[in-house]
């Protein structure tokens, strides 16, 4: 059952593959759990053969995912079959504060749950992603100086009080990595590096199929890798950090004299339509990312590199320069350079990861007793 809980839905045959049990055993277990109302089954087909799709029954409750970005908030409610049934996005001011953020997230979530005609008690667990390092044991923002007004703030404590349900917190890049590895571009891979580039830049690591958290959650803060010793001073106090070369506001600043006020989606759209200035800015960002990515790949040797965040919408305009630099700077291997792909879940990756995190922690009780 936990296999179904992790993946949302899969066929009996796939279930046998994942769990290592024999198809006959799986069939019996599924039949029993379906009888108890925990699982529901539907006929489907896989490569032309008849198969039985297994999902968790819908009436088992809801999970919620919340993603605080640098400039937006996204809240989604899903059923236990991983279907998102309600979602809302909201733009946030720069430097938004933790207390106001908690208030908005809690209210939005309450309204979304109401919208699907469910009482708040049906909520089994909530997953939250924040754009800063998080100590996952305490749910506290652990880094200093990266997210003004959030340092040491316990997101899980604050939200648990408001919502009365267990809240689990992680860094947003970690959650994006989790989502891409489970249900996105990197599904089926064991060692994945996910780099998220929007207003800031961060990475999530999947090692042996698990999110790697390190000591206190500051793993993957690649925004502050030095790419230029004599570069501009960064908010972290160091010089020439990666973020100073690929962060959205820096890219847009480079375009203001020639293009006026642009937003990132607009710059990407222009680049895709052949605007030379926008193409240049995006390809330079790709080169800088490639430098950082090469170091990571030399160190971790992942099976796949997934690029997410708003800038990944630029597709190959961003990915090709990354691939080129990786080819030059990473250790040559018989298997060729590591694959670089764009996120499959796009702007939803982080909130999907938050839903997966909630789902992993949700205790699903069978309505008639007897979980597995």
């Amino acid at each position: 059952m936990s296999a179904v809980q992790q993946r949302g839905s899969l066929t009996q045959v796939e279930l046998a593959g994942v769990t290592g049990l024999s198809p006959a055993t799986i069939s019996n277990i599924v039949k029993e759990l379906a009888g108890a109302g925990v699982l529901s089954t539907a006929p489907t087909s896989r490569s032309g053969r008849r198969a039985l799709q297994v999902t968790l029954a819908r009436n088992l409750g809801l999970v919620a995912g919340i993603h605080f970005g640098s400039r937006s908030l996204r809240v989604a409610v899903a059923d236990t079959a991983h279907q998102i049934i309600a979602e809302q996005r909201m733009p946030l001011p720069p430097d938004h504060r933790a207390d106001a953020g908690m208030e908005r997230a809690a209210l939005l979530l309450t309204e979304l749950v109401e919208q699907v005609d469910a009482p708040l008690e049906e909520l089994l667990a909530v997953g939250v992603g924040v754009p800063a390092p998080v100590d996952v044991r305490t749910g506290r923002v652990s880094a200093l100086g990266l997210l003004r007004g959030w340092e040491g703030f316990s997101v899980s404590e604050e939200l648990t009080q408001r919502l009365g349900v267990a809240v689990h917190v992680d860094n947003d890049a970690n959650l994006g990595a989790l989502a891409e590895a489970r249900v996105g571009a990197a599904s089926g891979f064991q060692h994945v590096v996910y780099i998220r580039v929007s207003h800031g830049v961060g990475a999530g690591l999947i090692l042996n199929g698990q999110v790697f958290h390190g000591r206190s959650g500051t793993v993957g803060e690649i925004g502050h890798l030095t790419v230029e010793d004599h570069g501009p001073i960064c908010r972290c106090g160091s010089r020439g950090c990666l973020e100073m070369y690929v962060g959205a506001s820096l890219l847009l600043d480079m375009l203001t004299t020639s293009h006026g006020n642009l937003t990132l989606p607009e710059a990407i759209h222009l680049a895709q339509n052949g605007d030379l200035g926008c193409r240049r800015v995006i390809s330079d960002a790709g080169q800088h990312l490639g430098v950082a990515a090469a170091s990571i790949c030399n160190f971790i040797d992942p099976e796949l590199l997934v690029i997410g965040g708003e800038l990944a919408q630029a597709g190959d305009l961003l990915l090709d320069p990354i691939r080129a630099v990786l080819g030059r700077r990473s250790i040559p291997s018989f298997d060729g350079p590591v694959g670089v792909v764009a996120s499959a879940l796009g702007s939803q990756a982080e909130v999907r990861g938050a839903l997966l995190l909630a789902m992993d922690h949700a205790k699903i009780a069978a309505p008639m007793g007897g979980g597995l």
């Binding site: 733009p91 001011p93 720069p94 939005l108 607009e266 919408q313």
Partner: protein, 281 residues
């Protein structure tokens, strides 16, 4: 919204052109009350300009002048660099300036289509062209990504955010270039506020100039490109939203600190808030 969904003509590449709408040294008094004193403002296509201020800062008078409901005592309004005089809201609309007032002016008992086309019904021979109107209604609501259950439900049955969206949609039917939203998030819940803020972003993406008047600094800061602070009828600073802190804005609203752009009494109003990037930070 994926960039590929955007209309190609919504883009205005190249250096910032002249403003679509501008106020030059506008003053307005009501008896002893100096509602506006030498106010300069400009808004460009493809830009969200927010105007914030305390009660009595002159926000409402400003909206009335921009929308043609009031005529300034001194100074003038420019559209595309040409001086214009609006004698009525209709005259402003004819110049492509649409205003959505706080009261929205929707008829609760009429459905969405009837509200959108109220007074401008499409006709087909002696009858109303319901089919075309309904199609246009879905079109314009679709452009704004507004979720309404049906265009045939009475507006009274919609949420605050949806009503705001219907009122904005109605203003868009006239193909305006500037949309002025007066306190669009006042009295809305957080969910409706989210919808309205997303709506503002979409208007901007369509290449429109948006003027957003609000008391809520957080809402304004989330979507604006530039923020003008009004205090006691004067502009007390013009800020670039992405580089300004909440504290700076708050200080300008309350008068603790002033922005760089505050012409003293008697000084000629300066036009220092041009596109050269020299805004107060």
């Amino acid at each position: 919204m994926a960039p590929s969904d955007l209309p190609d003509d919504a883009w205005r590449a190249g250096a910032p052109a002249r403003p679509v709408l501008a106020l030059r040294g506008v003053s307005k008094s009501f008896g002893a009350v100096r509602a506006l004193v030498g106010v300069d403002l400009e808004v460009h296509a493809h830009e969200v300009l927010a105007i914030v201020g305390d009660n009595g800062a002159g926000k409402s008078t400003l909206v009335e002048i921009l929308s043609g409901a009031q005529v300034p005592d001194a100074g003038h309004v420019e559209v595309d660099g040409e001086e214009v005089t609006f004698t009525s809201p209709g005259a402003a609309r004819a110049q492509g300036i649409a205003t959505v007032f706080q009261e929205l002016a929707l008829c609760e008992n009429l459905d969405v289509v009837e509200n959108l086309f109220l007074g401008n019904e499409l006709e087909r021979g002696p009858l109303l062209d319901e089919v075309t109107m309904e199609r246009r209604a879905w079109e314009v609501l679709g452009q704004l990504a507004v979720r309404v259950p049906s265009v045939r439900v009475p507006v009274g049955a919609l949420s605050g955010g949806q009503r705001q969206a219907v009122a904005v949609a109605r203003s868009l039917l006239g193909e305006p270039r500037v949309v002025i939203l007066d306190e669009p998030t006042a009295a809305l819940g957080v969910m409706q506020t989210a919808e309205v803020l997303n709506l503002v972003e979409r208007l901007r993406e369509r290449g429109l100039a948006v003027i957003l008047i609000s008391q809520s600094l957080a809402d304004v800061h989330a979507v604006a490109d530039r923020i003008a602070v009004l205090r006691l009828g004067r502009t007390n600073g013009l800020f670039s939203a992405s580089t300004t802190t909440y504290e700076d804005l708050f200080a300008a609203v309350t008068g603790v600190r002033t922005g760089h752009h505050r012409p003293a009494d008697g000084d000629p109003p300066t036009a220092s808030h041009d596109a050269s990037g020299g805004w107060a930070r």
